[in-house]
C-alpha cells in the first residue's frame, strides 16, 4: 500500500528524515511512534507531499507519489490531524461534504446522489447524523474529531493517515474513535497509518509499529517490540517498565516518574495499627504495601494498605463472599479498594500476632488457624468441602524490598512453612488419614514495605526466605495449638 525507499527529506538544508525504509500492507493498522521532534509529522508531510523529498521515493499502491495529481492522491489517501479549526459557521454536514471534493465532476461541481449517499453513510458510521445541521464550532472536541473523521472517510480513501487523532480527547472518546477506526479496518480493509503518542493505546490497536528516533527507524515490527523496555528507555528517556493487561495479551507499559518519591520515615514497628474485635481483625499501614495474596478481595499482586480477616459463622452462606466483604468493610469505614479481605470461622481471639526481627529484617505475622478441613494435597481421595471450622489465614508483612519474582518466592516459602507446621502438629487429612498439607480454603498474603535494597529472591536459600519460614512456622504452630485447645475444651 505504502512503500517508502531510502527516504530523506524535511525542511531544506537540514533533512529531518534520514533514510527510512517502510512497507505498509493493505488492510493493516500501522502505528508510528517516537518522541516529539523525532520526525513523525515530517514523514507524514513527505507522504502527503507538503514537504519536498530530498532523496528516495514513496509509492502509494504501486505509483510514485509525484506522478499522482492532487485529486488522484486525495482519492487514495485521506488525512486526519489533531487540529480542528474551521472558519465561518459551516455545519457538520457541510464539513463532511467537503470530503467529496476529489470525487465531484462537472463544470460547477455539485454534490450528486452518489455523493449524498456516501455522506449519509459516513455520518451514520461516525454517529454524527444528529448534529448535521449544527455549526461545527458548537459541538464538543470529541464530536469535532468524529466529524473530521467522517470527512476523511467521505473521500473513500484506501489509506487513512492519522496524525495523533486522539491527542486532546478524553479516554472515552479516544477509545470510541479508535474502535471506530479498527472496525473500519477490519470490515472494509482500510489501511491505517497513524501517529500515536500513547504506547499502551498503540499496543492495543496497532498490528505493527515503527519506532522513530532522530529521523531513523529503531524498530519496525509487531507490538511485542514494546517488550524491549531498554529500547523504549533509550528513545523516551523515561524509566519504562513492562506490565501486563489483566485480560488482553498485548504488552502494556508502566512509566516511572523521575522525581524523588518521598520515603516513609516511620520505622516499621510504628507504621501499622492493629484493630481487633470479635468480628474482624484490621491491620492498617501508613503506606501501601506491595502485596501478593489469594484473598477473597485484593487478590493478585497489588499495592494495598488495609488487611482484614473477618469472622464468619461456620454455616456462612458463601454465595457472594466478595460482595459481603465489601459491605462489611464499608460498614467499618475500611476502603475496600485498598484492602485484602479474608474470612475465617476461627475465633478471632485465638489469633497469633508475632513481630520479630531476623538479621535486621522486621517482620509481622498474623495467623488464624483451624484444621477441620485439613487436606493432604497429594492424596487421591477427594474431600468434600465440609461445613466445619477449618481454614488457615496467614498475613505476613516484611520490611524489605522484593521484586515481583521474590514476592512469589516468598509466597512459596510461607506455604512450605505452613505445611511443615501441619506436619509437626501431626494434623491429618481425615479422608486419606495422611498428614495434611493445608486446609481446603487457606488464604495467604505477603506484604512488603519495599524499603531498602531490592531483593530478587526469597526462597529457602536466602536469609529472608529462612526468616519467612521461621516466623510463619512458629506462628502457624501456635495458632493450631490454640485451635486444638479450644476444640478440646468444648
Amino acid at each position: 500500500m505504502i512503500t517508502v525507499n531510502n527516504l530523506v527529506g524535511g525542511y531544506s538544508n537540514s533533512p529531518i528524515i534520514n533514510g527510512i525504509n517502510l512497507e505498509i500492507h493493505q488492510g493493516e493498522f500501522f502505528a508510528l511512534l517516537g518522541p516529539n521532534g523525532s520526525g513523525k509529522t515530517t514523514l507524514f508531510k513527505l507522504i502527503t507531499g507538503q514537504l519536498p523529498i530530498i532523496k528516495g521515493d514513496i509509492f502509494l499502491s504501486g505509483k510514485e507519489i509525484s506522478t499522482l495529481s492532487k485529486l488522484e492522491k486525495a482519492k487514495k489517501v485521506a488525512v486526519l490531524t489533531q487540529e480542528a479549526q474551521v472558519s465561518f459557521d459551516f455545519t457538520v454536514e457541510e464539513i463532511v461534504s467537503l470530503g467529496r471534493y476529489p470525487h465531484q465532476k462537472g463544470l460547477f461541481k455539485q454534490l450528486s446522489r452518489v455523493d449524498w449517499n456516501v455522506i449519509e453513510e459516513v455520518m451514520e458510521i461516525t454517529n454524527i447524523s444528529q448534529f448535521r445541521k449544527i455549526p461545527f464550532r458548537m459541538i464538543s472536541g470529541g464530536e469535532k474529531q468524529r466529524v473530521l473523521l467522517a470527512k476523511a472517510l467521505a473521500q473513500e480513501p484506501e489509506i487513512l493517515l492519522l496524525d495523533e487523532p486522539t491527542n486532546h480527547l478524553d479516554v472515552k472518546h479516544t477509545f470510541q474513535m479508535l474502535d471506530l477506526l479498527k472496525e473500519r479496518q477490519q470490515s472494509m480493509g482500510l489501511t491505517i497509518f497513524s501517529i500515536l503518542h500513547d504506547l499502551n493505546v498503540a499496543s492495543q490497536y496497532a498490528d505493527r509499529i515503527a519506532m522513530l528516533h532522530k529521523g531513523c527507524f529503531l524498530e519496525v515490527g509487531d507490538v511485542d517490540n514494546f517488550r524491549k523496555t531498554d529500547l523504549l528507555k533509550k528513545v523516551y528517556e523515561v524509566d519504562i517498565k513492562l506490565g501486563s493487561h489483566p485480560t488482553i495479551s498485548k504488552p502494556q507499559l508502566l512509566m516511572t516518574p523521575g522525581y524523588h518519591q518521598a520515603e516513609p520515615c516511620t520505622r516499621f514497628e510504628n507504621s501499622y495499627q492493629i484493630h481487633q474485635t470479635k468480628e474482624y481483625i484490621h491491620i492498617q499501614f501508613d503506606h501501601p504495601l506491595r502485596t501478593i495474596s489469594n484473598g477473597v478481595i485484593g487478590d493478585g499482586i497489588q499495592w494495598l494498605r488495609h488487611f482484614c480477616n473477618f469472622y464468619v459463622d461456620k454455616n456462612y452462606n458463601c454465595s457472594a463472599p466478595d460482595r459481603d466483604l465489601r459491605n462489611w468493610m464499608t460498614k467499618y469505614a475500611i476502603p475496600y479498594e485498598q484492602a485484602v479481605g479474608m474470612m475465617t470461622a476461627v475465633q478471632l481471639k485465638d489469633v497469633v500476632i508475632r513481630h520479630e526481627e531476623f538479621e535486621g529484617i522486621q517482620m509481622l505475622a498474623v495467623v488464624t488457624a483451624g484444621t477441620g478441613n485439613a487436606v493432604d494435597i497429594s492424596s487421591r481421595t477427594h474431600s468434600k468441602v465440609s461445613q466445619s471450622v477449618g481454614t488457615i489465614n496467614t498475613m505476613l508483612f516484611i520490611d524489605s524490598h522484593f521484586t515481583d519474582g521474590a514476592l512469589v518466592n516468598g509466597f512459596m516459602s510461607a506455604t512450605e512453612a505452613k505445611s511443615k507446621a501441619l506436619l509437626d502438629m501431626n494434623i491429618k487429612d481425615p479422608h486419606s488419614n495422611t498428614i495434611a498439607t493445608g486446609t481446603s480454603t487457606d488464604s495467604l498474603l505477603v506484604g512488603l514495605t519495599q524499603q531498602g535494597e531490592k531483593t530478587p529472591y526469597a526462597g529457602s536459600g536466602t536469609t529472608v526466605g529462612k526468616a519467612i519460614g521461621q516466623i510463619v512456622y512458629e506462628a502457624t504452630k501456635e495458632a493450631i495449638q490454640k485451635y486444638l485447645q479450644r476444640v478440646q475444651t468444648k
Binding site: T48, G49, Q50, K70, L71, K73, A74, K75, V77, A78, V79, T81, E83, Q85, V86, S87, F88, D89, F90, T91, E94, I95, L98, G99, Y101, P102, Q104, L107, F108, K109, Q110, W116, E120, E124, S129, R132, K133, M138, K151, A152, Q155
Partner: protein, 361 residues
C-alpha cells in the same frame, strides 16, 4: 430506522433547497424593485409610463407612446439608467469580491480593499486628476483605464512581496503585504492631494468619496467585462473557498490545489475590485457588510454566498445611490457616506442579533 433517517434527511434537503430557492427569488425581486425605484425616482419628475416607454423602446423597440420630450428621454436613457446599472455593477462587484476575500483570507474583517488593489486603482485615478492628462485614443476612458492599471500594478507588488517573503502564498503574508502596499500608496495619495491646487484637490477628494453619477454608458461598458470575467472565476472556485475554511493544509488533504486556487481567487476578486474602484472611486462598507448579511441568512457555503452577495450588493448600492441623490436633492451626498451610514448600524444590529441568538442556542 436508517431508511426513515435517510428519508428525513432527503426531506430536509428538499426543504433547504426550497429555502435557498426562495432566497434567490427574493434577492432577484430586491434587485428588480430597487432598479425600478432607481429609475423612477429623481429630482426631475417624469411620469412612470413615460419612463417605461423610454426604457423598453430603447432596449427592445417596444415603445407605445408617440410623443416623448427629448430632454426626458435624455435624462432617463443617458443619465438615470446607466447610473442605476453602474450602481448595480459596482455594488455587485464589491459584494462578490468582499465575500471572496473574506473566504480566501479566512478573516471576517477582510474586504475588497484589504490587499491594496483599490489603493493602487485610487492612485492611478488621482494621478490622472492631478496631472489632468488624457492618453491619446482613450479620451474619457483615461481615468478608469489608468486606475485599473494602477490596481494591477499594486496587485503585482503584493504578489512580489509575498513571494519574496514566503514560498507558499501564506494568508498572513498576503494580508501584511496588502497592508504595507495600501498604506504606502495611501501616503502617496495624501502627498499628491497636499501638493495639488484647490481645484484638483476638491476633484480628487470628491472622486475618492466615490460616486456612480454622471458616468454614462461608457463606464457601464467598461466595468461589465471585468465583472463577468471576475464573477466567472470566483463562481468556478466556490468549492475551493469552502475547502479553505478548513485551513490550507486540510484543504490540500482533500485534493485542493491550494496555491492555484488562491491565485485564481485573488485574480478574480482583484479584477472586480479594481474595475469597481476605477469607475466609481472607493465606496466602502458594501464589500464588508453584504457578505456577512448574506452569510447570516444562507450559512457560509460559498455556492450561495457568492451569487447572493453579488445580487444583494448590487441592489444595496442602487438604494444607497438613490438615497444619496434624493435626501438633499438637488444636491448629492457622496455615496460612500450613505453606505457607511446605512451599513454600519445594520452591521452592528446583525452582530448583536447573532450574538444573542448564538447564546440562546
Amino acid at each position: 430506522m436508517k431508511e426513515s433517517r435517510l428519508l428525513r434527511s432527503l426531506f430536509i434537503q428538499k426543504f433547504l433547497i426550497n429555502k435557498i430557492t426562495w432566497l434567490y427569488i427574493l434577492s432577484g425581486g430586491f434587485v428588480l424593485s430597487t432598479a425600478l425605484l432607481g429609475v423612477f425616482i429623481s429630482s426631475v419628475h417624469v411620469p412612470v409610463p413615460t419612463i417605461l416607454h423610454i426604457v423598453l423602446d430603447n432596449t427592445f423597440g417596444w415603445g407605445w407612446l408617440n410623443e416623448v420630450a427629448r430632454n426626458e428621454e435624455m435624462i432617463i436613457w443617458n443619465i438615470r439608467l446607466p447610473r442605476v446599472l453602474l450602481a448595480f455593477f459596482v455594488g455587485a462587484s464589491l459584494g462578490l469580491a468582499g465575500a471572496a476575500f473574506q473566504g480566501l483570507l479566512r478573516n471576517p474583517l477582510a474586504d475588497p480593499y484589504t490587499i491594496g488593489v483599490s489603493s493602487g486603482a485610487s492612485l492611478g485615478a488621482v494621478i490622472v486628476l492631478f496631472f489632468q492628462f488624457t492618453i491619446l485614443g482613450l479620451g474619457n476612458f483615461t481615468l478608469p483605464i489608468v486606475a485599473i492599471v494602477g490596481g494591477f500594478i499594486s496587485l503585482l507588488i503584493v504578489f512580489g512581496l509575498v513571494r519574496l517573503s514566503s514560498r507558499s502564498l501564506a494568508i498572513e503574508t498576503i494580508i501584511l503585504a496588502g497592508i504595507i502596499v495600501s498604506s504606502f500608496i495611501g501616503a502617496v495619495v495624501s502627498l499628491i492631494i497636499s501638493l495639488s491646487d484647490q481645484d484638483s484637490m476638491t476633484q480628487i477628494i470628491y472622486w475618492l468619496y466615490g460616486s456612480v453619477g454622471l458616468r454614462g454608458w461608457s463606464h457601464v461598458q467598461l466595468i461589465l467585462p471585468f465583472m463577468l470575467c471576475g464573477s466567472f472565476i470566483l463562481f468556478y472556485h466556490y468549492r475551493e473557498l469552502n475547502a479553505l475554511a478548513l485551513g490550507e493544509e486540510a484543504a490540500d488533504h482533500i485534493g485542493v490545489d491550494v496555491k492555484k486556487g488562491k491565485f485564481y481567487i485573488l485574480i478574480g476578486a482583484s479584477l472586480l475590485t479594481g474595475a469597481a474602484v476605477a469607475v466609481s472611486g472607493s465606496i466602502g462598507f458594501v464589500g464588508l457588510v453584504i457578505p456577512h448579511l448574506v452569510r447570516i441568512v444562507t450559512g457560509p457555503n460559498h455556492r450561495h454566498v457568492l451569487p447572493l452577495s453579488l445580487m444583494v450588493g448590487g441592489a444595496f448600492l442602487i438604494v444607497a445611490d438613490l438615497v444619496s441623490r434624493s435626501i438633499i436633492a438637488p444636491e448629492e451626498l457622496p455615496i460612500g457616506v450613505i453606505t457607511a451610514l446605512i451599513g454600519a448600524p445594520v452591521f452592528a444590529l446583525l452582530l448583536i442579533r447573532e450574538r444573542v441568538g448564538g447564546e440562546r442556542r
